[in-house]
């Protein structure tokens, strides 16, 4: 039976994202983030995007630098102990251009779970004594059985989950190696899934070990062959984070000209990543 191919180019896939839409970004910090997709959203000059992620770094900061993001729902945005605060995210929030929706990582997860479970909100343990609920508007409710008070996190239902994975087939089956973070949950919580993948493999790759397919094709709307798509972040098992390149981005992101140069520098690799490489076959 001929498989339905959902393969698109990176620009074609990014054009599916409309201004003002909510996108959850896969990966965590500088690991397995959808960097190439974020750069393409910036090149296409998207506006009004609402971003969701437990802990973000380059992807979120870049979309703030480009003026594409107006809202970030997250528990953490920064470059960890390596480079500290995320400069453009910080600037965006401090200037009022970006609305930070203050979460704990677990409340992002709870909101995504509510969406995945098909319910309007999800109770969550913790938050006592924190100013987060007051600022973000999380409400407490009494459990109907015991009367115990618990915070209820409203559903987070992104239009798209954008996930970068090591292996996918043309239909959209995907296998992640290493930490899966919130990617699997995002694939169930979002209305649609866009995959970018290091390797496009035959479907038989998944048939051999179906229990290792974390994202089944029926959830997925588009697949992009994007080797190096997490760079300058890491994508296990293929490559580690490039510290020098992250540092270079942080320097470039300080000005509009620098950011334009950054996006231009990566454009060739993002648009023609497969040059000299086979697109299919076994990993």
């Amino acid at each position: 039976m001929p498989a339905l191919s959902k393969l698109l180019s990176l620009p074609e896939a990014a054009r599916r994202v409309g201004d003002g839409e909510m996108i959850s970004l896969g990966g965590n910090s500088l690991t397995r983030l959808p960097s190439a997709f974020a750069r393409e959203l910036a090149r296409q000059e998207k506006r009004g995007l609402r971003l969701v992620k437990t802990a973000g770094a380059y992807d979120i900061d870049l979309l703030c630098a480009a003026g594409a993001a107006v809202e970030v729902q997250s528990g953490y945005v920064g470059f960890e102990n390596l480079f500290g605060l995320a400069p453009s995210y910080r600037k965006g929030v401090e200037s009022g251009a970006v609305r930070a929706v203050e979460h704990a990582c677990y409340t992002v997860i709870a909101g995504l779970r509510a969406s995945a479970y098909g319910i309007p909100s999800q109770p969550v343990a913790g938050l006592q004594g924190s100013d987060v609920p007051g600022l973000t508007g999380f409400k407490e409710a009494a459990d109907p059985y015991t009367g115990a008070k618990v915070y209820m996190i409203p559903r987070i239902r992104p239009r798209w989950a954008v996930l970068h994975v090591p292996y996918a087939d043309a239909e959209g089956n995907a296998r992640i190696e290493g930490g899966t973070f919130e990617d699997v949950l995002m694939s169930r919580a979002a209305e649609g899934v866009i995959l970018t993948a290091e390797r496009i493999v035959e479907t038989s790759f998944f048939e051999e070990r179906p229990e290792r397919t974390q994202i089944p094709a029926f959830l997925v709307g588009a697949v992009v062959h994007a080797p190096g798509g997490a760079r300058p972040g890491a994508c296990p098992p293929f490559y580690d984070m490039e510290e020098e390149a992250v540092a270079r981005y942080i320097g470039q992101s300080a000005s509009a000209g620098g950011l334009a140069a950054h996006l231009a520098e990566w454009e060739e690799r993002d648009h023609h990543p497969a040059a000299g490489r086979p697109a299919g076959g076994r990993p």
Binding site: N28, A55, V77, Y106, S130, T180, E182, D240, A247
Partner: protein, 245 residues
């Protein structure tokens, strides 16, 4: 990337990694999150010495990973090397939620007299003077983990105010490790437990924005032993712990 670090900072990093390691009890289930180079190092020290039976959890989900080289990002895939199982981040939060996470390490840009932390905002959160990175898991972990140990590599009055103007997380703080001293939480307040070698009572008092309690009487924090120093080198030969300074 090569980074320069002064001998003073090097010593502070070594001390803090060892002092954090001492907070881990054998057999505990221990978690650290993002931007946590010192606790990541501390886990490697503790399991080589007094806590070989600890269970180590991290964001990539590695259970008892034993990385040969620690990553600069404490979310790096190296934290799955040698792991025996994968236990996802959401499951770690669930574990804490049901009261079964023994020890979490959490940082704070500000840590106040009650052990409440601010990792979110300086100034009005609706138009902040400084947008900090956010508290990551802390607002849910701090009230639910059995114990939490906080650390902060800067010890000055701004970092240790009487009250945080904005509280990201509040809860079950056990100890706080700084470059100058250890605090413990007692009667709802942080009080000094020990001063590190060469740190005067006056220095602690001047660097702390709240009354730290009886600083003169506080004993000296035992310096890292040769065994601890050796374990530190073995755990972190690349010096990732220095990234926090």
């Amino acid at each position: 990337m090569k980074r320069e670090i002064s001998p003073e900072k090097r010593r502070a990093a070594d001390r803090m990694a060892v002092f954090l390691a001492r907070q881990i009890r054998d057999g505990e289930i221990v978690f650290h999150g993002v931007a946590s180079a010192l606790p990541m190092t501390a886990v490697g020290v503790a399991r080589r010495l007094h806590a070989p039976g600890l269970t180590y959890l991290n964001i990539p989900g590695g259970v008892d990973a034993r990385p040969a080289h620690l990553p600069g990002s404490t979310v790096g895939a190296q934290l799955l090397e040698g792991a025996r199982a994968v236990f996802n981040l959401a499951e770690i939060f669930d574990l804490s939620a049901r009261g079964a996470l023994d020890l979490a390490f959490l940082g704070g840009a500000q840590i106040d007299s009650r052990g409440d932390i601010n990792l979110s905002y300086i100034g009005d959160p609706r138009r902040p003077k400084v947008r900090l990175p956010g508290g990551a898991g802390s607002a849910c972990i701090l009230p639910t983990a059995r114990r939490t140990v906080l650390w902060r590599t800067a010890h000055d009055p701004r970092s240790f105010p009487e009250r945080c103007a904005w509280v990201t997380a509040s809860g079950r703080v056990d100890r706080v490790v700084t470059p100058l001293c250890l605090f413990r939480k007692e009667g709802g307040r942080l009080v000094i437990e020990s001063r590190h070698a060469g740190v005067s009572a006056e220095a602690v008092r001047e660097a702390t924005g709240f009354d730290p309690g009886p600083c003169e009487e506080a004993p000296e924090t035992p310096e890292p032993t040769p065994a601890e120093t050796a374990a530190l080198q073995a755990a972190d030969p690349g010096g990732v712990r220095f990234l926090e300074f």
